[in-house]
């Protein structure tokens, strides 16, 4: 039995953060309906769009991967009839998830305060960069801004270089997780109490809560934590080291994390007890911290003569925490991800067979799965409005003729 079989979630908005959140539910059997329009397409559908892209809005790879298992209902919200249909769907669905800028839903009369009058147990989540209130609430932004505002950029990179965001704009990936957690907890709460709620999720605030250690350290000691490359202030060595290039010339790297003096001994033995590592002062963390640059330099000299994955396997056999740095292509050959069936194939009408990703959760009793490709824009408009919402044929045809369903 799927966890969310029979549960309907209406999704309004664009970009990555909203769609990833509802994917968790869709993969567990929920009917997730995206409201979209050709008048203002989701920017993920246009990210790489040029006038010559075959398949147009339905050919965006990014959109396709993030939106498997969902339905698309085309509604033009610049027309009052489109807004009226959206409202009916919102009142009918089990939950409403939106990530427009604050104010957009209110403009349409689709805000929580309006909808709750007609559906007291409504569960709704609004996600945006800075939250639904406050002087910066209307401030628009993409994940790049979220990563900067919440402190991740400052903490990522080399101390002598520009800060960097962790790849993939991290607030865009943290917020869907928070969102799914919150919506599931709200649905559970409604099931047990009959009460609905409106959740106001600020991507920046969620990110800052993750970085609580940096904020609490500042509050306690006025110390501002900074970026430190791959070093750890408590242990040495802790870093990423160059390995032999791949046969095709690609750079190869290995991550090695020594957590204590026992790990260090294992690493030294695995290296074959080289003379430089025999120095007794390096046997203690304090000694290695004092000579971190030297230790890293020696280690790098050693790793360069090895291939990354076999070396990681060898270090792991010796009990050392080590792993090859995988690129995006390597992920598809990784035996551990393959074992979890992390990537699963799906057949897309324009793009053909492509992989999509599962969550990081393996459920023993209620497995999630990928069942269908991401929808073409408006692919399920008729199904959603006629079969699910129960709209009459006459009304549907009239809306279609007026151009509302596009």
């Amino acid at each position: 039995m799927d966890i969310f079989a029979g549960t309907t979630i209406l999704e309004m908005g664009a970009g990555a953060a909203g769609p990833v959140a509802t994917r968790y539910f869709a993969d567990c059997g929920a009917t997730v309906i995206r409201i979209e329009s050709r008048a203002r397409p989701d920017f993920l559908r246009t990210l790489r769009l040029t006038p010559n892209t075959p398949g147009g809005l339905d050919a965006a790879e990014h959109f396709a991967v993030l939106n498997v298992n969902k339905l698309s209902c085309a509604l033009n919200l610049s027309k009052p009839e489109g807004v009226a249909v959206a409202k009916r769907l919102a009142l009918w669905a089990d939950a409403l998830a939106e990530n427009f800028a604050p104010g957009a839903m209110k403009k349409w009369g689709l805000d929580y305060a309006t909808l709750v009058k007609e559906r007291p147990d409504l569960v709704m989540i609004s996600t945006c960069l800075n939250g639904a209130t406050g002087p910066h609430r209307f401030y628009p932004g993409f994940g790049g801004q979220g990563s900067a505002l919440s402190g991740f950029n400052h903490l990522t990179g080399w101390p002598d270089r520009a800060p960097l965001g962790p790849y993939g704009t991290i607030t865009d990936s943290l917020s869907p997780r928070f969102s799914a957690l919150l919506v599931a907890s709200a649905l559970l709460h409604r099931r047990r109490t009959g009460e609905g709620q409106h959740i106001d999720l600020s991507q920046v605030e969620g990110g800052i809560v993750c970085l609580s250690e940096a904020l609490v350290t500042f509050a306690a000691n006025r110390e501002v934590l900074g970026r430190a490359g791959n070093r750890d202030r408590h242990t040495v060595p802790h870093g990423v080291f160059r390995c032999r290039d791949a046969a095709d010339g690609r750079e190869r790297w290995i991550a090695i994390a020594v957590h204590d003096d026992a790990d260090w001994k294992k690493l030294v033995a695995a290296m074959g007890n080289p003379a430089w590592a025999a120095d007794a002062s390096l046997a203690s963390t304090a000694g290695r911290l004092a000579r971190v640059g030297e230790v890293e330099c020696h280690l790098d000299g050693w790793t360069r003569t090895h291939d990354a994955r076999p070396l990681a396997e060898r270090l792991q056999r010796a009990g050392v925490d080590a792993a090859p740095v995988l690129d995006l292509g390597d992920l598809h050959e990784d035996p551990q991800l393959a074992h979890r069936r992390h990537f699963r194939p799906v057949d897309h009408p324009v793009l053909g067979r492509h992989p999509a990703e599962m969550s990081a959760i393996a459920f023993s009793d209620t497995p999630a799965d990928i069942r269908k490709a991401a929808p073409k824009l408006g692919e399920h408009t008729r199904h959603v409005l006629r079969d699910l919402l129960g709209m009459s044929a006459d009304e549907y045809d009239a809306l279609e003729q007026k151009g509302v369903l596009a």
Binding site: I3, Y112, R161, D200, L215, A228, L326, D327, L331, T366
Partner: protein, 414 residues
Amino acid sequence: MRGNLDGIRVLDLAGEPGHFAGKLLGDLGADVVKIEPPAGDPIRRRGPFWGHADDPERSLAWLAYNTSKRSITLDLEKPRGRDIFLDLVGRADVVLETHAPGALATLGLGWTDLQRKNPRVILCSLTPWGQTGPYAGWRGSDLTAIAMSGNLHCTGDPDRAPVRCSLPVAYYHASIEAALAVTFALVAREQSGRGQHLDVAMQAAMVMPNMATGSMFRMNGNRGARSGASFRQPKSVQREIWPCKDGWVSFALRGGPARIPGLVAMVKLMDEHGMASEKLKATDWTTYNHNLLTQAEVDELSTEFGAFFASKTMTELFQAAVERNLMLAPANTAREIDASEQLAFREFFVEVQNPGRGRLRYPGPFAKIAAPSNPTTVGIRRPAPQLGEHTAEVLAEVGVSDAMLAELHAAHVC
């Protein structure tokens, strides 16, 4: 204070990678009981310490991620400790743990043991690689889990090693995933009446932050690359993090039609400061498409934008950005975040009273909840517990009297 997870009892055996998971469940109202070995969670001995005093009740990493929990001490490796734990499982909804796969089973506390004691209990296991599979027995941590996710390969400067965030983002990502897995399983249990085992892997959790590009490799052959403070477009590399007078700001040339108004407003602002060239002012933004820009065109734009940013502070630029919707953001440190007027308006920060140590300012709720009346709330319920602070009250629930407790203490069971 009501919460969405009121009445849910969580037994939290998690080490550092899962500290945040228990906090999230506690912030939603669950009664989270942290079970520590009698010597305390190892993180308690790791600095930095509040006031620089080497004290297990002042470790900031402990204090940061263990609010909204109670603490008991119990040695699960001793038969008596194991039995008491199973008694607690009989009254619990969730067990959260981060042991190596199989380690709990060795103690007689594996999934089948817990299920036998309480068929409704949910076991959530958070590990670097997962419970089964060729690398299940590997060691792992933040750095190595990110290394195996594709995310590390793509983060950093092109001329240096791949680089991570200096705080462990794999732990945060995987912890939120674990908390949501638990919540999903609680929903499932409403229908099935039974618990289940949730196997959450940090490596897999760090693939999603690549935002689909891992899957897209099969469509575009792109293995990812480090582009430093820039973003790699099909035809060009575009700077996205810029030096300013006193720090760094994030500003992008990409983003489709939604990006255009911010670019137009930025050029207007630069013009007001006499820093926009005639050519820049004459740009036809209606036909602008960042995908079509050549590197030379990008460089020309970057030189002008960069010169303007370098002449202003983070605060000046962000104030203008908020007033004019420039879609620019400062690379904040804890200091700027602490002083944010937006966060102050939302009363985001909260003061937590720590017995014997005083008040400490914390990031507050990860979301705000409104409802027609008497809404549930998200946020810190109680300070991070002192070691074993709640042992007596929790063990009393399973019939441990004061006299027995003294005996257990003497035998180092708790």
